[in-house]
Symmetry: C2
Subunit: 481 residues, 2 copies
């Protein structure tokens, strides 16, 4: 009942908010970024206490969050994302006159956003999902994550202040505390038009199933993590063994392994596996233990690692004696055993790594077809040795949203070219990204105006291009200014 | 078993076809258009006999089909649809180096396309869905429509000839005859990556449900038609009554009413309804009877009109005595009765029109919120009288994919700015179009390359922009040449 009222308010606010200009929305977002930056002293202690994340990390995350908001403000104002396309009419065309057609993207409507436990700021209340929806002109009903309730409410308070400052209705952004039942009710509400989620496969897939079973199905953008394989080739191993062990150990344990892009799988030549294992074991054993985000995640990690012990062919490189804190674990398995076990393809949330050893080129090249959809795949290869591996890059690319050449998958750059998404089960919609400016398009759909008098057209479509945005006119793309 | 073989072949051909250059694909499509144009003498008699459509219409549809293919060839080669976005790296950035990121759209994989009965050429074998998938770099398994099997096979033969001429694998485009069971099996096959469909709500929704219940869900682009309301305002009626009756009667009966954009609903002021009804009744009664596409559609139309007779408040303006052919039918109902009956909101496929009379401004403005999602909505209004109807355009725009100012919704222009789609239940994905160049994006997803050596990058992403396509570089859009 109360949620129904919230959705009614969101729909009412949407009819007003969608009419705001690009400049108005950008100003609102920039003001919000300002308030968040100014709120650092209030935010830090609460977010650190609730998430168990160190102050340096939360500080960095706040900077990432406000940088992200400012990026969306700039991008939304630039206007190319509206995909304005104009075909001039020709009343004299025979046999039928050609209509004047003008197409642009318009916002979908109220969006339900679910915050993530592992990023109390950047993927939560004023995180990428909320901000890209607001940038698109949608209203947001934000379902706060129970792992950081106070952080969530404090950020919500700042969003409200930014709305008020711009004389925008408070219902443009509403906050709902609560658990699974509330989330489900919101997703099923007839006025909801889209859903964004970052979290577990179980949670995301459940919302996806609910949303598609509605009388009127709505899109669900669920980013559900993945195993983010690193694929190491022989010559690279020969030249970089120490660096590999060090990079891998650090990436695996960063933030207690609680990143969507945590490298849970490492494909490595059988001949190099002993050396790598010995080096990595030493480094991982020396890692300090870290607290995980909350006790539920901690115990899920411990059980998942424990359950791994039953898997055929698994050999442990580094087994923590006790898993009361997030101690890293590393195991190895042969390609044939990995191929045969569905469980070994699934993500373990936390600092668990699995080395999959391959015997030869044939095993390596057969692997991409066996891989589930991934957010990222990282190739550790010398440039010249790839000449002997035709088809490998294409095969790996067909299984992920981001393909890295060297480096580690943790660390998701916020920018124009980032793709943070990937084939199912990494996400429920491989056509979308949840990080980077293209995220805005998840919350918009095309609308074409046919033979509309110029005075009645939206600014973006008017003949004289008053917004000075890039548009495709009669098949030709032109810059706005 | 045989379908499994077909899907395996499609996946194998995909790994080859997706590596073709934009220019190669464009050449293949242009050659196909050429072969279709040359095949007119063979195609005409078969398509006319199978569809019961007159020769002029089929001739026009063939021209539309080949024009559409050439448009996609030009558009795919132009390259802006790849959305190439490049962020240059900065190895010296502190605290962490900035990666070089390059993002573009890549094809999804094998697509299952279902042909439509009402367009044996333009929405069938080499119609918009097949061609946009091929343009994107996807392979196609085409499920032929049983209403025009010979036309389908003849077009298929020409596609094969075009592939052969370009030395492309035959399995890039495969043809499956058969019925519902075959279609379902294809949609459920693990190697299928997307589905495109044009037809009834029942058919489209069933495929949608199947595809989203798969272990790995895949997108379904089903265009399921709608009632395409025309909304007439008072002053317009006063000035244009004769034209209105004539335009409406012609649009309603065009092609025996068998268009997705057939104007099944007309909202008209109560004070104008008698005059309009009298004029339209005379025009419709004089319309020659037309054969519908096949006996199944004919009898479905007759039953649907018959069933309408049980609806409360319905008054018949024009009731055909016998419905053995597609004779037009027209009824009227008050807004309050229309609002109360779910059945009156649904499409009747064929030349059935329903006038919904509104008493006042309040009833008119409350109407958009009651409307289902539509492909089109047409506003018949004098420009100056809209000043008194603030919010009406926005309300109508929120319910459709294309908003027309004057004219009639039948006649879907193929071009850059067309939007042929709309909120559910008009389609299963309001973010997409099935007509116009943007249709290509339905079959692609983003892939980002991080720190990839230039020599290994796809042509579209190489630093020197060898394809000379428009790209967004470091946040700035630039034209290719």
């Amino acid at each position: 009942m109360q949620l129904d009222h919230i959705m009614q308010q969101s729909a009412a606010a949407f009819s007003q908010y969608k009419e705001t200009s690009l400049a108005q929305r950008a100003t609102f977002l920039r003001h919000l970024a300002e308030l968040l930056d100014q709120g650092v002293e209030r935010l830090l202690p609460i977010a650190c206490a609730e998430s168990h994340l160190p102050e340096g990390r939360i500080k960095g995350e706040l900077a990432r969050t406000t940088g992200q908001i400012r990026l969306f403000a700039t991008y939304l104002e630039e206007g190319s994302w509206l995909e304005v396309t104009i075909d001039h009419g020709d009343p004299d065309r025979s046999p039928a006159p050609k209509p004047d057609l003008r197409r642009m993207l318009v916002p979908l409507g109220p969006v339900i956003v679910f915050g993530a436990s592992n990023f109390p700021l950047a993927f939560s209340t004023a995180g990428g999902d909320s901000i890209s929806a607001l940038a698109a002109g949608c209203t947001v009903v934000y379902k706060g994550h129970p792992a950081h309730p106070e952080t969530s409410l404090l950020v919500f308070e700042l969003v409200q202040a930014a709305l008020k400052e711009q004389d925008l209705p408070a219902a443009i952004f509403q906050h709902v505390a609560g658990g699974i039942a509330e989330g489900q009710e919101l997703v099923q509400h007839p006025l909801a038009e889209a859903v964004a989620f970052t979290g577990s496969y179980t949670g995301g897939k459940a919302l996806f199933d609910l949303a598609y079973a509605r009388p009127k199905p709505i899109p669900v953008y669920a980013e559900m993590g993945s195993t983010n394989p690193i694929v190491a080739l022989e010559e690279y191993c020969e030249a970089n063994m120490e660096k590999m062990a060090s990079d891998y150990s650090q990436s695996l344990t960063l933030g207690a392994g609680q990143f969507c892009t945590n490298p849970g799988l490492l494909f490595i030549p059988e001949s190099k596996a002993d050396d790598f294992a010995a080096l990595a074991a030493k480094l991982l054993a020396a890692m300090p233990s870290q607290l995980m985000l909350h006790p539920g995640i901690q115990s899920a990690y411990a059980s998942a690692v424990e359950a791994m012990k039953a898997q055929a062919g698994l050999e442990w490189i580094c087994t923590p004696d006790h898993l009361t804190a997030a101690l890293p674990a590393l195991a190895r398995v042969k390609m044939e055993d990995w191929s045969a076990s569905h469980r070994l393809h699934e993500e373990v949330f936390g600092p668990f790594g699995l080395m999959v050893t391959y015997a030869d080129r044939e095993q390596l090249h057969a692997m991409p077809a066996l891989l589930q959809g991934q957010l990222t795949i990282t190739l550790w290869a010398e440039e010249q040795e790839l000449a002997a591996h035709e088809g490998l890059i294409a095969g790996l690319g067909s299984r992920c949203g981001r393909l890295l050449f060297g480096g580690v998958p943790t660390g998701v750059e916020v920018g124009h070219a980032m793709q943070h998404g990937g084939p199912f089960p990494a996400t429920t919609d491989s056509r979308s990204t949840s990080v980077g400016v293209h995220a805005i398009k998840r919350f918009a759909r095309p609308l074409a105006y046919q033979n509309c008098p110029d005075s009645l057209l939206p600014e973006a479509l008017k003949e004289k291009n008053p917004l000075k945005i890039s548009r495709t006119v009669d098949g030709k793309l032109s810059l706005g200014d």
